[in-house]
Amino acid sequence: MLKFIINRMMTLAISLIVASLVIFAAIELIPGDPAAFMLGINAAPDTVAALRQELGLDGHPVARYLRWVAGMMTGDFGQSYTYQVPVVDLVMARLGISLPLTLMALVLTILIALPVGMMAASKRNKAADWGIMGVTQLGIAIPNFWFAMILVLVFAIQLQWFSAGGFPGWDNGLAAGLKALVLPAVALALPQASILARVMRSAMIDVLSQDYIRTARAKGLSEKQVLLRHGLRNAMIPVVTILGLQFSFLIAGAIIIENVFFLPGLGRLVFQAITQRDLIVVESVVMLLVFSVIIVTFLVDIAYAWIDPRLRQSRLNLGAFR
């Protein structure tokens, strides 16, 4: 298992290096001068030159790349041009909203999808299954910003259980903060939960037709015990794969949802940074997002090995599969 983790860590490091090179090259390759581009067409030449220096755009590309990477490693992402504050401070403050939001959506996705998918599989071709399949079909079809507006209409405007948007800040207590994230998290989670529930259903149907399920029934396990003791873990393998992919959708989805709910999160930051051509911020946030996706992929690989003993020992037992 340790060998497996070390192996995965190497892959992770290589992915990060490649990703940083691509992001750096993308900024480099944008035709024209990033400084001039950031300042717009009417900027005076000396302002552009000053910005070039501020951005660290003078010097050899290799040296600049190394400086950029070294900076990130020591927590120095540079200075935001529009806000005139270190990017780190900016990102950290926004992360305080986006991270809980994404995690909440992720937890909701799992909590909705797994039981619903298992229920549909165990009641295959019965009314409950058809109902679940219909609802999840809708969940996938409805754009989540539209669903977000419906949520606001019903729960904020009609019922007045939640506020329609904005964030009170964590200073006003954990409960208030979490409450403000509930509607956005639900809006974010719904399409993903619908997808995952369908994946869970088909994975479980596949598992339930396996010989070892018949063995479990022959041992006297009840249907529920069969599902939970033998079905769930086996069905988790495809589910974890999809869940890992969904994480990046949740992050990307957050950009739209944060705008709908006026949440000052990373999504809003990157959106504003793009419209204001604040390339340093864009570069840093993209790198951060790539980093988080790579970490999640790593966690997914670890989860596989945790679920499946054959993967844990695959290096030792290749012979058995020949």
Partner: protein, 521 residues
């Protein structure tokens, strides 16, 4: 009073009646056999008793077990009986265990479910049970998983979990069919011992009459859902009353085949394998260790040995699917040595038929496309393939119109015919048959063997026939090689080797074959 009394049992799946009004009884401590070809309804009978029929299955009639009618019992009652009073062992040892759960936990599971108690106690008990069935507990290792065990070992784990709570009745559905002949004998001995020690009754379901002859006291023979013949095992065999039973016995001995004459073997060599070595990385010993063999044109050569002896690796090496670490292979004069790839023209002289006919076909393509795949091996595939497809299908006893069907529309025997048709497609000189009939039941096996014999005559084919089933080797081959731990340990004319085996490995293989006693014939 009998332990189990089945009266007028019926099972209906959809519109199809798979078990038709059968009755039988099983007494405590008795081994009762249920025989019949595949699809005769024997497994459905067992599943009906267990209350484990497929979703559309409907059962009726009466099955009184220990004073309780299993057919009328609720699902809840059945759950309390299953695994405790009645246990079941299935055919597929490779897939019948949960791959993600340790074997100790799987054996402990029925104890936990039915008796409660702590996980630790149940695991301790499971380790004792594993020890009892001969799965060495390896200093109490609780973290072994099914993929670490061989097929025979997995079947032992299945048995351990079935006997965990000393059930009154053990239902064993083809418990040894998927195993090689020596492992099969070990598993059957183990079952017989456990039944005796725990005074269990066992219902042994198999298509192999010799297994039933050796192991059961009473016997019922099924066909099309009905019991055709029924009685004391010895009487069923010796009375020769029932023509269907007789046809099964005949099939199991390949008596329908013409008596083997020493085949006319053309002079010269088709395949000459000289001192080849195949090694796998990280293995201590080579999988194939300096093996030499020769096949003459139109000769049928047998290759036998227990599982893991290296016979399939040898076949793969001959086909050029495993790189050689040493030695040479010469096919029709074209030589291949270590480090060389086999040229397509040489490759096209050989074809292979595998054990699992379903797994070796792509389910999404039609038969016409599936069986013409070997044309890729030719430099100039024929322009009009329809004629070739029709000929190949007729050759193996199928209809030329079958080329438009998909593989799932065929039965197991028909699929194996298609696999043979695919091999015949490019008119090879040599066909390697790797356990090609091992998964088939007796009757179909005999038919395929007959087909292979006639095709050999018709097309002048050579066969390399790999099997652990010596009765098939006897029926099919002129000469035989016995392989053990990567080496050839004995060889000679098939009749001689089987009649007077010299090497202990050969003797073990021959002794392990289940036989109908001579005096019963």
């Amino acid at each position: 009073m009998p332990l189990l009394s089945v009266q007028n049992l019926n099972v209906q799946i959809g519109a199809h009646r798979v078990v038709d009004d059968i009755s039988f009884t099983i007494h405590q401590g008795e081994v009762f056999g249920l025989a019949g070809a595949s699809g005769s309804g024997k497994s459905m009978t067992a599943l009906a008793l267990m209350g484990l029929l497929p979703t559309h299955g409907v059962r009726s009639g009466q099955a009184v077990f220990n004073g309780q009618d299993l057919i009328a019992s609720s699902e809840k009652t059945m759950q309390s009986i299953r695994g405790d009073q009645i246990s079941m062992i299935f055919q597929e040892p490779m897939t019948a265990l949960n791959p993600l759960m340790s074997i100790v936990d799987q054996v402990a599971e029925p104890i936990l479910i039915h008796k409660g108690g702590s996980q630790n106690q149940a695991q301790d008990r499971a380790l004792q049970l594993l020890d009892r069935v001969g799965v060495e507990a390896k200093s109490g290792n609780r973290h072994r998983y099914p993929h670490e065990l061989s097929g025979g070992q997995r079947q032992r784990v299945m048995i351990a979990q079935a006997i965990a709570l000393k059930p009154k009745l053990l239902i064993a559905d083809e418990p040894s069919t998927a195993l090689d002949v020596t492992t099969q004998a070990e598993i059957l001995h183990l079952l017989a011992r456990l039944v005796r020690e725990d005074d269990m009754a066992m219902m042994l379901i198999t298509h192999d009459l010799a297994v039933l002859a050796e192991n059961t006291q009473n016997l019922a023979v099924m066909k099309d859902g009905k019991i055709q013949d029924h009685g004391i095992t010895k009487t069923v065999f010796t009375a020769k009353k029932n023509s269907f039973t007789q046809s099964l016995i005949k099939a199991s001995e390949f008596k329908s085949l013409p008596k083997k004459k020493p085949a006319k073997i053309a002079p010269g060599l088709l395949l000459d394998v000289d001192q080849i070595v195949v090694t796998y990385p990280k293995a201590n010993t080579p999988a194939v260790d300096q093996v030499s063999l020769a096949i003459a044109p139109q000769e049928s050569l047998g290759l036998v040995g227990g599982s893991g002896c290296g016979k399939s690796t040898l076949a793969r090496a001959i086909l050029g699917l495993e790189p050689l670490a040493g030695g040479t292979i010469s096919m029709n004069g074209n030589q291949i040595t270590a480090g060389q790839d086999i040229p397509p023209s040489t490759r096209a002289m050989m074809q292979i038929v595998f054990q699992d006919p379903f797994g070796s076909f792509n389910p999404r393509h039609r038969v016409g496309r599936l069986i013409t795949e070997p044309f890729h091996a030719l430099t100039t595939p024929p322009k009009d393939q329809t004629q070739a497809i029709a000929e190949a299908l007729l050759d193996v006893g199928l209809d030329p119109d079958d080329q438009h069907k998909y593989i799932h529309e065929f039965s197991g025997g028909q699929r194996q015919r298609l696999a043979i048709a695919r091999a015949l497609m490019i008119k090879p000189n040599l066909i390697i048959l790797d356990e090609a009939v091992s998964a088939l039941d007796m009757v179909i096996k005999a038919q395929i063997i007959e087909l292979l014999s006639s095709l050999r005559k018709k097309h002048g084919l050579s066969y390399l026939f790999i099997s652990h089933d010596l009765s098939v080797i006897e029926a099919m081959t002129d000469r035989v090689l016995v392989m053990d731990q990567g080496q050839i340990v004995e060889q000679g004319p098939t009749q001689d080797v089987l009649k007077s085996p010299q090497h202990p490995v050969t003797k073990t293989l021959i002794n392990a074959i289940p036989r109908i006693p001579k005096s019963w014939r």
